[in-house]
């Protein structure tokens, strides 16, 4: 394992891979720093650039975006009090007060180094856990895969804050998208609604791009002209110089905090569709609970920044584990990576690491190296970033949508994917306006075919439907699905009784 990793590190350090990795990390840092532009949107924009690259170059670029984006949000969170990404919200709680107290450099670098260490701990988990988990998944038959996908879907629908019913309906709508066009087992036409473009089924990437790109840009567009404070007037002359050894010591001298918050990040990353924002909020809450001075949280204590930033970067490692071991995207970013794998003809899932060891270890190496690049980029650009984030959205959004069109068109060089992009853009925006969560919808679209294929395979192997329940792993997963929904119902009812207003779902999916 370590031989493969060392070879992959040497390989990825070559100019051929280092340039795309650097570009991806840079794009991620900038996208992460731009308030209103998330990592998901950044990776959607970057996706078409990877079509002409070889698989490892493309995936290295995307890994760079993911790592860079997870850390990039902290710059504006600390210096402006505006989180660049949802995963940096908790960073503002102590980062911004610390910066206001005259220590912006300390706040920024605590965040950067905490991201670095948290990310590396997430990387250790990624490297050590992916193989064994994939080996477990290799023992799965169609019954177990069917139940695993159902479990993932039910958990996502149940974990969305707000209405459980809407979460479940959104997941079911995602499954409906996959039944239109053709039957994935026999290729027989069905439910084409007389539209020729539907005859081959619907690719999930244009759906994902449409839903996320439009849901986000149009939500921003509707706020335009609402008197929002321009970022151009921001003070860009802040001094960010610090003693790095002192800052690193501040982090490593709190090993329990660092390890616990990174562990939370990894754990939440492994669960499908719960993004870095949930990880950082939960880690922040935990840091407050284990602290000897919880009353100081929110006033600019280093523990708050360390907790938030270490967990959101460790979360990336966890998310990559689920996609590499099971083929289930941990969030929207890994869903796009899954699409990129498909474009290059690579099948994700338990066989991925076995059949594409070089590529898998290349991703591990890219992940580790991206953290080093992230530190360098933020060190060089943190101050300049304040100018970059002042780019007008009226100029940014049309360019973003053009790149989305290229991404959709280039999948198979037909306009039908562009029309699908538009149609699902409208649907995504409507879902947002009607309060339907996007995470279960997208997971439904991604897993729908696999759920059907595995169900039919199971029935073809043995028509006894009870096997879904009597096979231990499959039955266990189905019971867990029911329990996750039951838990969500119980939690929603408890919140209703207590009169707690549901928090907006901040997952980065």
């Amino acid at each position: 394992m370590f031989d493969l990793l060392a070879t992959a590190l040497v390989n990825i350090a070559q100019f051929k891979y280092l340039v795309p990795l650097f570009c991806g990390t840079l794009a991620g840092v900038i996208g992460g720093a731009l308030p209103g532009v998330t990592i998901t949107m950044t990776i959607i924009v970057v996706l078409p650039f990877t079509f002409g690259l070889d698989p490892l170059q493309g995936l290295a670029t995307m890994t760079g975006v993911y790592v860079g984006g997870s850390a990039g949000g902290l710059v504006t969170a600390v210096l402006l009090g505006l989180p660049g990404t949802p995963s940096a919200i908790a960073t503002t709680f102590d980062g911004y007060p610390m910066a206001k107290k005259g220590e912006p450099g300390r706040a920024i670098w605590l965040g950067v180094w905490a991201s670095f260490f948290g990310g590396l701990l997430g990387g250790a988990f990624l490297i050590l856990a992916t193989g064994p988990l994939a080996r477990i998944a290799l023992e799965f038959g169609p019954w177990e895969f069917f139940s695993l996908f159902i479990f993932a879907l039910s958990m996502v629908a149940g974990l969305v804050e707000g209405s459980l019913a809407k979460g479940l309906v959104a997941g079911a709508l995602g499954l409906i998208v996959t039944i239109l066009g053709n039957d994935p087992v026999m290729g027989q036409k069905r439910l084409t609604l007389g539209i020729p473009a539907l005859e081959g089924g619907i690719d999930f990437l244009p759906v994902l791009i449409g839903v996320f790109a439009f849901a986000q840009t149009m939500t921003e567009v509707e706020r335009m002209g609402g008197g929002r404070k321009a970022l151009a007037a921001v003070e860009t002359g802040v001094k960010l110089t610090v003693s790095h050894l002192k800052v690193i010591w501040e982090i490593v001298s709190r090993p329990v905090l660092l390890l616990w918050c990174s562990f939370i990040g990894v754990l939440i990353g492994v669960l499908p569709a719960i993004g870095g924002s949930a990880a950082s909020m939960f880690a922040y809450d935990q840091a407050k609970k284990i602290s000897r001075r919880p009353q100081l949280f929110g006033s600019g204590v280093p523990e708050g920044i360390i907790a938030s930033e270490s967990s959101n970067n460790a979360n990336v490692g966890g998310s990559l584990v689920t996609i590499m071991a099971f083929g289930i995207p941990g969030d929207a970013v890994t869903a796009v990576m899954l699409g990129a794998l498909t474009i290059h003809g690579i099948q994700s899932g338990p066989l991925f690491i076995q059949q594409n060891a070089q590529l898998a270890y290349g991703i591990f190496a890219a992940y580790l190296l991206a953290h080093v690049l992230m530190v360098i980029i933020l060190g060089l650009l943190a101050r300049v970033m304040l100018r970059i984030v002042s780019v007008p959205k009226a100029a940014l959004f049309p360019v973003v949508l053009v790149l989305c069109v290229i991404g959709a068109y280039a999948l198979n060089n037909t306009m039908s994917n562009v029309y699908i992009l538009l149609a699902f853009g409208v649907l995504g925006y409507a879902m947002v306006k009607f309060g339907f969560p996007l995470a279960p919808f997208i997971l439904g679209v991604i897993l729908g075919d696999q759920i059907e294929i595995n169900m039919i395979r199971a029935v073809m192997t043995d028509p006894d439907p009870w096997l879904f329940l009597t096979r231990p792993i499959s039955g266990g997963l189905l019971v867990a699905s029911v329990l996750s929904v039951a838990f969500a119902v119980w939690q929603h009812r408890r919140q209703q009784k207590k009169g707690i207003k549901p928090v907006e779902d901040d997952a980065d999916f």
Binding site: G36, F49, M224, Y419, G435, P463
Partner: protein
Amino acid sequence: MSRDAIAGLVVFAASVVLFALTLDLKDSPLVPVGPGFYPRIVLGLTALLSLGLVVGELLGRPRRQPPDAGLRDVEAPVAPAARPNYLLVALSFGVFGLYCAALPTLGFRIATFAYVFGSSVLLSRPRSAKGWAGALVLGLATSFLTWLIFERELSVLLPRGRWTDF
């Protein structure tokens, strides 16, 4: 009737219609269950869930959600709540729709230039000659650079126009 109940009814109606369409699907002799088997389960489940949403809403159990509850990408917490500019959203969708329609006829380069120029002007109307020039340069630069990077450098094909042949 509340917004959630309307949404639930729309989903319910759509799933019932699609369910009815699955009844015409012929079973395959090669597999024990036909191509309509799984869609019927999904559509039946969707109909039940959406009906549950409607009933729950009519009984007044679920609380109303904030309008953006489905979007996870939280914006700046200090942003003032402004009245949503739905007209601008509708126009933006309209301009994007025109762009999609123009791509196969005008080709990528012309359609992209027109779209980026038009859309940026729509989103922020220039107040000076410099602003108009900026929008023009943005349109030209986006069109040229994307074509250069994707088609020339990365060998990614872009839509060609029937009328322009490029």
